[in-house]
Amino acid sequence: MENNDTENLIEVKNLKINFDTYAGKVKAIRDVSFHLKKGETLAIVGESGSGKSVTTRSLMGLNADNAEIAGGQIMFHGEDVLKKSEKEMQQIRGKDIAMIFQDPMTSLDPTMKIGRQIAEPLIIHNHVSKKQAMAQALEMLKLVGITDAEHRINDYPHQFSGGMRQRIVIAIALICYPEVLIADEPTTALDVTIQAQILKLMKELQEKIETSIIFITHDLGVVAGMADRIAVMYAGKIVEYGTVDEIFYNPQHPYTWGLLNSMPTLDTQSGELSAIPGTPPDLLDPPKGDAFAARNPYALKIDAEQEPPFFKVSDTHYAATWLLDPRAEKVTPPEAIAKRQAQWAKMHTDDGELVRPATPLNTADNLDDSDRE
């Protein structure tokens, strides 16, 4: 990945994580590098088990006991997070790096009033009085759009709906104004209309609080309106990364093609969505060469032999596929992808200006407030 150390808030370099299990060592993260700039949103996309959550949990030192860091660095404020003690990590967690979890129905303590739960990080980190913390919690509760916050601050989690609970989880994460917010599939457990509201809220709050977001999802559709850049993960590796436009309109890796093709868009005409055939490889014993080769209709001979390095597409866009090697034969991507790439060519008019297409790709862009809870 291209480096510009002064701007990078977080820099992950060659991260490798194994899990010790009864069956053997699961190589969950196999040499992952990425960076996060101040104020941007980076989406990490991939299917279940690709290592998205493990990667981000290691940023907070929250991986399970059987996780073993096999190599790499995670630089945050010029220090390697992986070398920090548990005590030092506790200072960072919730204050500098905060996290939103997937399932709002289970991530709040059922026996504690929500006000107290929101105020808790403030009391731990900023050493403010309980009264002051509660006052700030109330402000935050209003900010995340809970109506009648003055009364509801004394309610328990079960008195809220799923969408409201996720707003509370967001309030907890943002109460200390963290520099980095990790959102681990924050909308997966919610129904679609609520999903859009939560995404919109996150975007609004990102501006107010000036935080950078790492957004983990398996749903490319959710990402389009949210992220600045996208990293696509497969089998414990990043296979392609670039800006949102680059990934959506000029994808290079066959896995990214598969992901885009399995996502419904307004253009989807046929009644069927295509799926990527096969299942991800067993990370107990990762295959030699390109891990995606077995499921890849465009696989080359070399894919079975040697792992592809990152090929540069543009300054911000890299993809790890042998198809980009100058010696590789040119392949025609699936029809829908070819269409996207044609649109990409059109977007880049003669003077190099970027023109966004008229039809939005996702639902998060066209929201209205009327369907708020």
Partner: protein
């Protein structure tokens, strides 16, 4: 809530009535009579005594008379213990049993919470293993065996506490330990399981992500959530304690109800048997009722639903 309480109260009275009825007739099926051991009495004397106590009437009449008396709070006179009213006997004997029961409950449950909690936090280490073995031993060893072991090793050999009898606080220590074994082990096992479950829940991960220390996580989030279900255990624990105390009090010669209960059964002292049975039953159903109410108070989820219905 009022409707719920009224319903519970009705069932409570029904339960007590059934217990009284069943115990009464089962008791009458016991072999022997209150006077089987009095060989010096002549037949006429026995008949006279029977007449005084109403024992010459048909059983169903005795039953009705007994019920009528019980409703008015009159449990009759004891045959065995100097003709004292049973209610008086209970009143003098209750304090010792109560003191032992409450001491054993507090010691057992508190220790159980601490030990179970530590075992959960140090899961799958030697600490956890040792605690599991201890609690399994405590569950398996009957309290009367534990009582005798304590008497022999701590009372007699070490001479640390009185072997038996009743006097100052030191007399209560061995019987308390003997009785506390079972609630301790049950609580420890229960809390360990609950805590392990709670510790793997999402809200504990969120608490860690907030930057809480591990003690903070346990103290503020895990403990409360694992303690609430413990309330449901208090009912069964009380039953265990009651049955345990019947024998343990005898072993330690504690002048409590348990000791008297055993004696009254062996001598067919009908009013005393009934009186003690009923007292234990009332205690138990009331404990169960209180448990349910308390559960509603501590668990916000139940509290709200109770309030709405």
């Amino acid at each position: 809530m009022a409707k719920y309480l009224l319903k519970r109260l009705f069932y409570l009275i029904l339960t007590l009535f059934l217990i009284a009825t069943i115990t009464f007739f089962m008791m009458k099926l016991l072999p022997g009579t209150p006077l089987s051991n009095e060989s010096k009495l002549s037949h006429t004397q026995i008949q006279m005594i029977y007449h005084t106590y109403g024992l010459d009437k048909p059983v169903w009449q005795q039953y009705l008379i007994y019920l009528a008396g019980m409703v008015r709070g009159n449990f009759g006179l004891s045959f065995q213990f100097d003709n004292q009213p049973v209610s008086y006997l209970l009143a003098t004997r209750m304090p010792a049993s109560f003191q032992l029961g409450i001491q054993a409950m507090i010691v057992g449950v508190l220790l159980g919470i601490i030990v179970g909690g530590i075992a959960a936090i140090r899961r799958n280490t030697w600490v956890d293993g040792t605690m599991t073995v201890i609690s399994i031993l405590m569950i398996s060893i009957p309290s009367f065996v534990l009582a005798i072991l304590l008497q022999y090793y701590i009372g007699l050999k070490a001479g640390a506490f009185p072997v038996a009898g009743w006097g100052n606080f030191s007399y209560t220590i061995l019987p308390t330990i003997a009785l506390a074994g079972s609630p301790f082990a049950t609580t420890a096992r229960f809390i360990r399981t609950e805590m392990v479950d709670v510790m793997s829940s999402d809200y504990i991960e969120l608490a860690k992500a907030k930057g809480l220390t591990s003690t903070g996580v346990v103290y503020h989030h895990a403990l409360r959530n694992s303690l609430i279900p413990l309330i449901t255990l208090i009912g069964p624990l009380t039953v265990n304690l009651m049955t345990g105390s019947l024998v343990v009090e005898n072993i330690f010669a504690v002048p409590g109800i348990g000791e008297q209960f055993v004696k009254s059964i062996t001598t067919n002292d009908y009013p005393t048997i009934m009186g003690i049975t009923m007292m234990y039953s009332v205690l138990l159903v009331v404990v169960l009722l209180i448990t349910d109410i308390v559960y509603g108070i501590v668990d916000p989820r139940i509290r709200l639903q109770g309030g709405r219905s």
